[in-house]
């Protein structure tokens, strides 16, 4: 009897023995297996599962797009650069908008531009209002 035949004999014997087990014991064993699987699932943190799923997905995309790790880091650096430039542009735009609003108001104001350039006028107005 070679090793393979011996293994099959053992498996056959074990299967026959398993069928001979008392039904009550079979039910208890089944319940224990189900409980053990439930406990294992609870033990794995949800965030860790989600993190693994996300990284798996990223890896899949990387493989699908043919990204080499170095190219991926270059793309990340480029994305950060673009974000930095766009952020700077946005801040500059906010400032320009505020200045432009004043400029537009100055161009159509009742007072001439000269009035806003005269440093004495504001002080004189303040004195007039106090008196």
């Amino acid at each position: 009897m070679n090793e393979m035949a011996f293994g099959l004999k053992v498996a056959e014997h074990l299967s026959a023995s398993a069928r001979a087990v008392d039904p009550t014991i079979t039910r208890r064993l089944r319940a224990a297996r189900v409980r053990a699987i439930e406990l294992h699932v609870e033990a794995v943190p949800r965030s860790a599962t989600a993190r693994r799923r996300f990284s798996d997905r990223l890896a899949r995309w990387g493989i699908r797009l043919g990204f080499a790790p170095a190219l991926r880091s270059a793309a990340l650096a480029a994305a950060m650069l673009v974000l930095f430039v766009l952020g700077g542009q946005w801040a500059e735009q906010v400032h320009v908008d505020a200045v432009q609003a004043v400029d537009a108001a100055l161009l159509i104001d009742d007072l001439p531009i000269e009035a806003y350039l005269d440093p004495e006028f504001r002080a004189w107005v303040a004195r007039e209002l106090q008196s």
Binding site: D103, L107, I108, P112, F121, R122, W124, L129
Partner: protein, 135 residues
């Protein structure tokens, strides 16, 4: 790998440059409506930097919401405004913000006060101003 990284960075920089350059069109590339509004600035346009050009183009958008009287006034003042130095413009903006932050009833009288102020002799203007400053 190093070459790929450099290539991606160059492409990103070129793209950013292209985005920035879009905001500063030459006079010939302006729309007819924009040229009509900015006509007083045609001579100064080539000397303006991208930010200044963009600021004036933004004004064109505001122009449509102005009354005909305001549009006329704005056209008259455009050249005057471009001839000011950056320091003078900053001073005018600051003074505008300060005077316009006054209560509405005081603000309404500014035109009349300007008329009066202009009629004063220079020494009296300065005396009045220096009296007001220490308080």
């Amino acid at each position: 790998m190093g070459r790929a990284r450099v290539a991606v960075l160059i492409v990103a920089l070129v793209a950013c440059g292209a985005v920035l350059a879009q905001g500063a069109p030459d006079w010939a590339r302006l729309a007819p409506a924009q040229r009509a509004v900015l006509e007083p600035l045609e001579r100064d346009w080539p000397r303006m930097d991208a930010a200044q050009r963009q600021a004036w183009l933004t004004l064109v958008e505001r122009f449509e919401q102005m009354t005909p009287q305001e549009q006329e006034r704005a056209r008259e003042r455009m050249r005057e405004w471009t001839e000011l130095s950056p320091e003078e413009r900053a001073r005018a903006r600051n003074q505008y913000r300060a005077l316009r932050s006054m209560p509405p009833d005081q603000r309404e009288g500014l035109s009349e006060q300007w008329e009066r102020y202009q009629r004063l002799p220079p020494d009296e203007r300065q005396r009045g101003a220096s009296e007001a400053r220490p308080r």
